[in-house]
Symmetry: C2
Subunit: 144 residues, 2 copies
């Protein structure tokens, strides 16, 4: 469904978001150990997310990655997915036709659209605050 980059990215963002509710910055090492992802690769992904402004970073001792608390309610999961995987998952044809539209649809278009809309809706209605709140229940995991 998502690329590895996007999977790692979402897990990293959720981890950072959770820590940020307690004003805790987290280092790359902590992140990659906590979400069980390849460290250097995760660094690249976090670079994209900091460039796009959804994640903040600070260098040097006591530095690390964090998300501004006031942004947690406004950042949607779809924002992260868009940065890392683009929006072909929302707009692309499920059968790989070059353009997806109702005028020249593939035979599965109207069936795919429903599923795509479900996914889009789920990712757009869930903000980081909302997911982090769930994560207070300790049944949820970001690794293994």
């Amino acid at each position: 469904m998502f690329s590895k980059s996007c999977e790692y990215g979402l897990r990293a963002v959720l981890f950072i978001a959770k820590q940020s509710t307690a004003d805790t910055k987290v280092s790359l090492t902590t992140i990659s150990e906590s979400i069980d992802s390849p460290q250097a690769f995760t660094a690249k992904i976090l670079q994209q997310l900091t460039k796009s402004g959804f994640v903040q970073s600070s260098k040097g001792p006591y530095g690390g990655f964090f998300i501004e608390k006031e942004n947690l309610p406004t950042i949607k999961l779809s924002d992260i997915v868009s940065v890392l995987d683009g929006d072909s998952i929302y707009t692309g044809c499920g059968l790989g036709l070059h353009q997806c539209n109702e005028k020249e649809p593939c035979p599965l278009h109207f069936k795919f659209v429903k599923i795509r809309e479900n996914l889009k809706n789920m990712l757009e209605t869930n903000t980081l605050s909302m997911v982090v709140k769930d994560m207070n229940s300790d049944i949820f995991h970001l690794k293994i």
Copy 2:
């Protein structure tokens, strides 16, 4: 959502299925031109589908690919997807955790499961006959 192999495979199967309702065998060349896919690559995909029994083939002049008419109502889209992409799309964790289950779910598990079930249900309830029937309406395309 699907790999290129699976996209080409589904398009090829739908094309073959449509022709098979008129007892017409189709050659690789015809298929790849009709669905706008790389010919040699499509051949590999069709090999997998013939090995797995969903598609038939015959060599030599007047040969080509076809699907037994009586199988059209029983072959589901999910059968094709399983052959070409496996079933990780049905059972894998959306955030890439090694195992997806309700005991140690990722924070998006219960949201993902709904979407996965929608997709699974769509692919399992649509047989080749059903999709081919739609394809009689000439608004549907398999290329461009």
